[in-house]
Structure formats: C-alpha cells, structure tokens
C-alpha cells in the first residue's frame, strides 16, 4: 500500500495538475480539427515515403512541408510509429485521409509530446523565487504558475482541438529559459538553437537570446554601476556558443546544403507571397490600420471625397481576400513591416544591453520581442500571440505590475483565438475553457498581490468586461440578424479590432514599464 501511495503521488499537486490536464486533452480527442490535421498527416506521408531530397519539393498536396528540417525529422520518426496504427495515412496521395486510427494516433502524438512541456514547466517552477505569501498551497506562486502554463487556454485549443504541435516546442523554449535562469547558458543556447530548427517562428525572439547571451554570458563582469566592463569579454565563451549554434545548424541544414537545395528550403520556410494579414486579421497594429482604412473609406464615400468606382469591391465585405487592398491609406509592403518590426524591437534590445537585469530582464525583453513582432509582422497568425503569453506567465507571478499587463494580454489574446473554433459543438468548450482560465488567472493573481494596489484601473476593467457582450453579439445575436448575409465577416472584424486595442495597450504598457524600470544596481541601493 505504501508503494501505491507513492506511485499515486499523494499530495503531489504538480503531478495531479499535469495528469488532470492530460486527461482533459484525451477528452478533447473527438472534437473538431482544422486543416492543420491534414497538413501534419501529409508531412508524415512525405517524410515516410519519400527520400530526403524530395521533402521540400513534393507538392501533391497543397500543404507542402514548410517547417525547418528538424520538424521534418520529427515527423519521420513519428511516421515509424504511425505505421503500426494505420499504413494508409502514410500514403502521399491519400489526401484528406482521416480514419479513426489516424485520428487517435495524431491526437495521442500531440498529447504524448506534451510530456516535454510538462517537464519544462516543472523546471520553470523551480526558478521562481516568489514571495512567501500565505501557507496555503493554492496561493503559492509556483502553484499558480504551473496552472497558468499547464492549463493554458490557448495551448489547449490550438494544440488539442485545432491541432498543432506547439506544446513540445514551447516546452523546448521554456526549458531553455529555465536553463538560462539556472545559469546553464550553454544548454539554454543549445536548446534554443534546436528549437529554431524545429519551427522558425521562434526567430522573432532570437534577438533577445543573442543579446542576452552576449551581454550576460560572454561578458563575465560588470562595473559597479551596472554598465559593461569591456575587458571582461571571454573569447572561449563566444566561440563555444558559436560552435553550438553552428553544429546544430549544420546538423539540420547540412544535408540540404549537400544536396544544393538550400534556396528551395528557404523559399518554403519564408513565403512572402502571402498577404499582409491572414484571412482572419490577427489582432495587431495592422488590424487597426486596416480598420482605420475601412472607416476612412466609408466616410470618404459618404462625404463624396472618394469615387465609388475606384474602390476595389472585395475590400468592403470580405476578409478572405489574401491581398488586402487599402483604399485611403498607403498599402503596406513586406519591407515596411520588417522595418517597423525592427524599430519596435530595438528599444527593448537596447534596454537588455544597457540595463541588464539578469534573467528577468531577459524574459521581459523576450516577451517584448515576441509581442513587437506580433504587432508589426507580415502575415502574422493569431496563434503567434502564445509566443508572448507563455513566457509572460513566468513574469506575472513575480510582480504586480507585470501581472496586470499579463492579464490584459492573456485575456484579449486568448479571446482573439475564438474564431479558430467556429463549429457549434466546440462553442461551449471554448467558452467554458476560456472562463476557466480567465477566472482562475485573474482571481489567483489578485489573491497573490492582494496587498498591493489593485491590478486593474476602471478603464481596463471596463475593457475586459466588454469581451463578454462582444462574444454574445458576435456568436449569439449576430447569426440571427439580417446582417449575417450582408456582412458575414463583421464579427471577425469586430473581434480582431477589439482585441487589437487590448494587445496594443498591453504592448505599450509593458514597453513603458521596461523602459522606465531602474537598472538592478540602483534598485538594490534603494
């Protein structure tokens, strides 16, 4: 019996939380899955049945392989398990194949890979020094953090309903962050390099990694006032870092370099042919920009400043057109977005360089990088908001100011994921899970920081409460009105603009708090 007690982990809240969410994921197996399911099935088939030389050329399905080589290898390994479930799913020509065994295999592969995520969360919880408030378990920062990460709404619906493999990728990222917190820099750098070759979207946060490692690892000492001591530069560390990154990249891209396919690989990885915004506008700066354009064009038409014949028809109602035509404001080119992104990232990088605040400063810079690229990037997906939300969770349990920004960011960011699930049976699930996560995160962080000033001012409270009526209007009232036929994309537009306001606000607030935060040296003196 004693052995059984230990095995069942009596009183071990972490394993209970992890097991609980795993079981919930299993319950989500029969839910709706998006075309990403077919995307990954196709990649399984490609990597299984074709030689490496054709991986990045194969184009039978429209869902071509557009992730870096490590992910392809990952699919290759998975496919060798998949063949015991159902051979048919490994056939490249078997488009849209989804037998029940295929479904089970794919769903379980995501759930299984999340083990890495759970481990990473476990490691992250160790790095939280958290204030010692309250003896109760549910009020400990570690407990709150592990719920915020393990039960993250976005990750649950994107991975386990919509279908993607973000869990273990974020696991890698969190693990590398945890290693940096633990001063195991080489490991952290290695993990991040590997991660980059799994999914290149993490390039967004690469500047934070690069500058942090250079500043805090390669320079071994600071002057007393916190500024850089140039003569403490360690060549050994730089070279070893470079070597790690180089070796990982060589392992990943080497074979394709040998096959002389590198340009083809890169053309698959960075498709600039897509539009500025995704079909559903991710709630970023460009959503506001587009909305402003529409408002201006409508006003222009009303006041007869614009000629109706010169306006592209599609732009008025549809969101599905990939190439969005601006009518009043200048159109945006990929280069412009790139420049905007760089400009948005730069101040945070400067901050990281000139006011190093240890791993916490790095984490804030990383969040800012993710958020800035989300704000200004080209063809950003709404799912990319997770890249900011998950690292920000680590910050939220340590400081009240960060907690309030985190809550605004998460709540709006998560709400903006709602259009991903548009089928009726999933409607209750997304609302219930969203309520679950939002109520928990707000209440628990409020309890954690109850001695400090309130987390929200009246404006923020009002904004967040507004999400409720917005949801009611978009999904319960709108379908029964006559506008459904006339303006089918109005709910998406409203959601996107409303969330864009919140995310822009959170981004701005975080930026301000990072910029005016005094460097470590000074805070210690105070």
């Amino acid at each position: 019996m004693a052995a059984f007690t230990i095995a069942a982990g009596t009183g071990n809240w972490f394993s209970a939380l992890a097991l609980g969410v795993t079981l919930l994921k299993c319950l989500l197996i029969p839910t709706y899955h998006s075309t990403d399911f077919e995307v990954h099935r196709n990649w399984l088939a490609i990597t299984h049945s074709l030689p490496i030389s054709q991986w990045y050329y194969e184009a039978t399905s429209e869902w071509t392989l557009d992730y870096p080589p490590f992910f392809a290898w990952f699919e290759y390994i998975l496919s060798h398990v998949a063949k015991y479930f159902d051979q048919e799913m490994l056939n490249v020509r078997n488009l849209n194949y989804s037998s029940s065994r295929t479904l089970l295999f794919q769903r379980f592969s995501v759930i299984f890979m999340d083990v890495l995520f759970v481990y990473a969360v476990h490691e992250c919880c160790k790095c939280i020094d958290g204030k010692k408030v309250g003896k109760e378990l549910t009020e400990k920062p570690k407990f709150i953090l592990s719920v915020l990460l393990l039960w993250n709404f976005g990750l649950l619906i994107v991975d386990h309903i919509h279908f993607q493999y973000n869990g273990f990728l974020f696991g890698l990222m969190l693990l590398s962050i945890a290693r940096l917190f633990q001063k195991r820099h080489m490991e952290g750098a290695f993990l991040f390099a590997v991660l980059l070759h799994f999914k290149h979207i993490y390039l967004y946060v690469a500047p934070a990694y690069g500058v942090y490692l250079l500043r805090s690892y390669c320079f071994t000492a600071n002057k007393p006032d916190g500024s850089i001591r140039w003569n403490s530069f360690s060549f050994v560390r730089v070279i070893s870092l470079g070597l790690v990154v180089f070796l990982v990249s060589a392992l990943s891209l080497g074979p394709f370099l040998a096959l002389n396919q590198l340009p083809q690989v890169f053309s698959r990885l960075f498709p600039f042919k897509r539009g500025l915004c995704h079909a559903y506008w991710a709630p970023n700066f460009w959503a506001l920009y587009n909305a402003l354009d529409k408002v201006l064009s409508v006003i222009g038409l009303k006041l007869k400043f614009l000629d109706p014949n010169n306006i592209p028809k599609a732009s008025m109602t549809s969101g599905l057109v990939q190439q969005f035509q601006h009518t009043v404001l200048p159109s945006v080119t990929p280069l412009a977005t790139l420049i905007c992104t760089l400009i948005a990232i730069l101040p945070s990088i400067f901050c990281l360089w000139f006011k190093p605040q240890g791993p916490r400063g790095f984490l804030r810079c990383l969040t800012l990088c993710a958020l800035s690229s989300f704000m200004f990037g080209w063809h950003v997906h709404e799912k990319a908001i997770l890249l900011a939300i998950l690292p920000m969770s680590l910050l939220s349990v340590q400081k009240a100011g960060d907690a309030s920004i985190f809550l605004i960011l998460t709540t709006t960011g998560h709400y903006s994921l709602f259009p991903l699930l548009f089928t009726a049976p999933e409607l209750p699930i997304k609302i219930l899970l969203m309520l679950l996560f939002t109520i928990y995160s707000i209440s628990s962080l409020k309890t954690l920081f109850r001695k400090e000033k309130p987390l929200f001012n009246w404006m923020e409270t009002f904004y967040l409460l507004g999400l409720g009526p917005l949801e009611v209007c978009c999904e319960f009232v709108f379908p029964f009105t006559s506008w459904k036929v006339k303006y089918p994309f109005l709910p998406l537009l409203l959601t996107s603009v409303y969330c864009a306001v919140g995310i822009t606000y959170a981004w701005f607030k975080l930026y301000v708090s990072v910029l005016i935060d005094p460097p470590v040296g000074k805070t210690k003196k105070q």
């Binding site: 019996m1 059984f4 007690t5 069942a8 982990g9 009596t10 009183g11 071990n12 809240w13 209970a16 097991l19 609980g20 079981l23 919930l24 299993c26 319950l27 989500l28 197996i29 029969p30 839910t31 109760e136 549910t138 009726a424 049976p425 209750p428 699930i429 219930l432 899970l433 309520l435 679950l436 109520i439 928990y440 209440s443 628990s444």
Partner: protein
C-alpha cells in the same frame, strides 16, 4: 465564502468534462429499428407534443407502447413536452408525429445534449455546490475539493452525457430533498423529494430513509405536540405535490391505473440484461427465473429487500440524525439495487448519489465504491462505444479523490468509522486487529480485478459458447463488491450511536 472563485473553477471543470463527454456517441446511435435511450427521449417529446395528455400512456395507433412507450412518471412527460416546444421552434422535423422516428443528425444531437446540460446546470449542480457549502466541520478547501469529486463522478456523467438520460434531474431533486431535510427545512425537502419521485419512480429506493428520518423527527418532537403538527404538515405537502403532478391523470380511474401499470411493469421479470445484483449473479448457478413462478419471485425479492433494509430503517426512526440519514440512504438504496424486482444497471446511480454525500466522511470507502459502481456499468458503456471517455473520466475522478482527500492515508479503523465495531468484536475475539489491513488488501484485490477484467473485455474475444462471459463476470465481481459494501454500511449504521454515546460519556 472567500474562496468563491475556486468553487466557480470547480463547477466550470465539471461542466467542461460533461460537455466533452457529450461529444461522444450515444446509446443506439445509427442502430435501427429500436435505437436506444436517446431515441426514447426524443420519441417522448414527439408523443407528448402531438398527442393529448389522455393518450400519453395508452396504446393507440399513434402511440405504439412497444416502441419506447412512456414509462416514467408525469414530471418526465412534462419535461419532454417542454423540450418539445423548444425543438418545435428550432426544427419541427425533430418531433413530427410518426415521420420523425429514428431521427438523427448532428444538430439534433447538439440540441439533445444541450437540454441535458441545462437541466443539470439548473438542478443538480447547484444542489451539489450548496450541499458542499453547507457541510460542517471541514475547511473551505476541503469543501471545494469535495464538490470537485462529486461533480467528477464518472457514472452519472457517462450515463447522462454519453448513454443519454436525464438522471441529473431526479438525482438533483433528491439531493435538494436531502439538503432541505438535513437543514431542517422539512417541508421544502419533502417537496423536492416528491418531485424527484414524480420524475423517476426509481427514486422510491430513497423513499424509506426519507420517511423514517422525518417520522423519527416527529417522534423526537413528541407526537402529541409539535411533532404531530409537523407530521400533518408533511403529509399535506406530500399529498399536495403528488396531486399537482398527477392532476391530468386523476380525472379518470382508468388513467391513473394505466400510468401506474406503465410505471411498475411487474411482468417484465426479475431482472433484465446484465445487472450487478444478487438475482443476476445467482442466475449463473441456478436459473431462478425459469424455476420459480413469477409471483413467488416477486414475493421472494420483496422479502429479501425488506429484511435487508429493516434494521437500518428502524435505527433511523429511533435515532434520527442527519449523518445516520445519509448512511441509511446508502444502505437502503443498495438493498433495493441488490435484491429488488426489475432492477436496471443504471439504478446503481441511485446508490452512488448518497455515497457521494458521505465522500468527506469516509473518503477511502466512498471512492472505492464509486469506482466499483462505474465499473459495473462497463458492459453498457462498451455497447455505446464510450470506452475512451469512461477510462479517462474514471482516472480523473480517481486522481481528484486521491489528491483532495489523500485517501490512502485514511485507512485506519477510526477513519473507516469501524472503531466501535472492532472494539466490540475484540471483546469476543481479542485477535481481531487486522481489519484495517484486510480492507486495504481487499481494495487492492478489487482494483486489480477491475482493471484486469476491463482489459480482458476490451482486448479478448469471448469464447463462442459463452458470448456474454465478460459482461457476466463484470456483473458478478461488482455484485460481490456491492455485497461487501452493504455489510460495511450496515455495520457503520448499527455501531454508529454506540460510539456517539461513548464519546458523550467521555466528555
């Protein structure tokens, strides 16, 4: 309550699990000509909506009682009628007379599942939350943990949201009844319980403890004074609520009799399908159904039931206490399940509900019982293709119980409430010290058997001569477990006040 948000979280988790389970298949999905309970419920909507009240329970050309005829009391019929009005508003095809038979579509499934969720949300879940808030002598955190475990009980979720029934309505009313009666709102409590009986006649399993508890209360207050007044008030409440529910059927004698005949189908035999009760298990050795005539079977099952629940009920009349009431609910319902006539496998939920109520008092035994009760539903759940949700929810429930009550540390005689029993046994058998360890081993054996049997049922094909081998085994094993629990709960009830008296003496 300062931890209101945790309670909200618990309710939301319960709702999420319920809805995710409801995405799975239901009983009789795509299986003409009879389909299953899902079609039964839809058919009742069709009947109640299209036919006048007088024809609901009668066989006619429009109402073939052989095809899922209405056999639940009037409240169920009214509920169906209410749902039918909503259905009519959304899509009249769903309840069209005759033509809608066997209607199945994604939208309709969604509608039916939503009606269950709404009923649950209105009746059962508030009752559970309120019950846990009213628990005495435990911390807020424990109350919330208790609510989580009760809301995650897999048996009810799987039957209501998987198989498809509205048990949460009748069980919810019964729970409101328990709540009212134990908080001394006797009239409201008895009203709620009358509603429960009028929703599902199986709630009669709980009626004796209610009756005895209230009668005991009256006796306690003195039959010549306040007690008599209370008794009259209670009688009036019960009669009035019954009359209200049955009003349309009291107009003619034949109406009332026909409804009663539909509710208690004596000619359907001692048991149906595979049930984990005594008769079905005994059937393995001796075919009672074929040997004894029908009326002897009826008398025999009545005697057994009556004898097995008598001691607990007498005890409750003599010493009415809300703790004793809950335990008597368990033992009475269990007696009915094990011995009475025409029992369904789903009736185990009627035992599980009161067991959920004593979860915080005897966490180890309750968890064990609730696991066995879910396991006893296995053949039914497999038929409905609900293996995956069953396994997952059972594990979730088990983990919830283990973490919130740390059940494995609560196996001492004291915590099993067997202290006074073992003391009195030790007077005659001084070496009787192994009780606690014995129960631990029994638990291990029971769990291992259940896991192995589940694995065997899922993976192996039964031998051709015995196609029902595994389901009979499941019933047999569960029945053994239930017998053990019947003995255990009766021991607790009978030895309860002795410890109470001892404690009083000590203090």
């Amino acid at each position: 309550m300062e931890k209101w948000y945790l309670m909200t979280i618990v309710v939301l988790i319960g709702l999420t699990v319920r809805w995710t389970v409801s995405l799975n298949s239901y009983s009789g999905a795509g299986k003409p000509p009879m389909f299953g309970d899902y079609e039964a419920q839809r058919h009742w909507q069709e009947i109640t909506f299209n036919l006048p009240v007088k024809q609901w329970y009668f066989n006619s050309s429009d109402n073939n009682l052989q095809y899922w005829g209405l056999d639940y009391p009037p409240l169920t019929a009214y509920h169906s009628l209410l749902c039918a009005y909503v259905a009519k508003f959304i899509n009249p095809d769903w309840i069209a007379l005759h033509t809608s038979r066997g209607y199945e579509s994604q939208a309709h499934k969604l509608f039916m599942r939503t009606t269950v969720l709404i009923a649950d949300l209105l009746i059962y879940i508030p009752a559970v939350v309120l019950y846990c808030c009213c628990l005495k002598d435990i911390s807020t955190k424990k109350k919330i943990a208790n609510a989580l475990c009760i809301l995650l009980y897999p048996g009810l979720i799987l039957i209501d949201y998987g198989h498809f029934q509205y048990n949460s309505v009748s069980l919810g009313f019964a729970l409101w009844g328990v709540l009212g009666v134990s908080c001394d709102w006797d009239l409201l409590g008895s009203l709620a319980f009358c509603l429960a009986i009028n929703y599902k006649q199986m709630e009669l399993y709980h009626s004796l403890p209610f009756f005895c508890f209230l009668l005991g209360k009256c006796f306690k207050k003195g039959l010549k004074g306040k007690g008599f007044v209370l008794l009259v008030k209670l009688a009036c409440t019960v009669v009035a609520s019954f009359v209200l529910c049955w009003l349309p059927f009291f107009t003619e004698r034949e109406q009332t009799l026909q409804v009663l005949r539909r509710l208690f189908p004596v000619d359907r035999g001692l048991f149906e399908d595979k049930v984990a009760n005594i008769w079905c298990s005994f059937n393995v050795f001796l075919k009672i159904r074929d040997i004894l005539p029908r009326h002897i079977q009826l008398i025999m099952s009545f005697c057994f039931t009556f004898l097995s629940l008598l001691p607990a009920c007498i005890k409750l009349i003599l010493q009415p206490s809300s703790k004793g009431f809950k335990f008597t609910l368990v033992s009475c319902a269990l007696s009915f399940f094990l011995f009475s006539f025409q029992v369904h496998e789903k009736s185990i939920l009627l035992v599980s509900l009161p067991v959920c109520l004593v979860l915080s008092e005897i966490p180890f035994m309750s968890t064990w019982f609730l696991l066995v009760s879910t396991f006893s539903l296995l053949p039914l759940l497999l038929k409905d293709e609900l293996l995956m949700p069953s396994v997952v929810t059972t594990m979730a429930f088990f983990i919830a119980c283990v973490t919130s009550f740390s059940i494995f540390e609560k196996t001492s005689e004291e915590e099993l409430q067997l202290k006074s029993f073992s003391i009195s046994v030790r007077k005659y058998l001084p070496c009787f010290t192994f009780l606690s360890r014995m129960i631990q081993y029994l638990f291990l054996i029971s769990v291992i058997t259940m896991v192995l049997l589940t694995l065997m049922t899922v993976t192996l094909d039964p031998p051709q001569k015995l196609p029902d081998l595994f389901s009979v085994l499941v019933c047999f094993v569960s029945c053994l477990n239930f017998l053990f629990f019947l003995v255990y709960f009766n021991i607790i009830i009978m030895w309860d006040s002795k410890s109470g008296r001892n404690q009083k003496k000590i203090s």
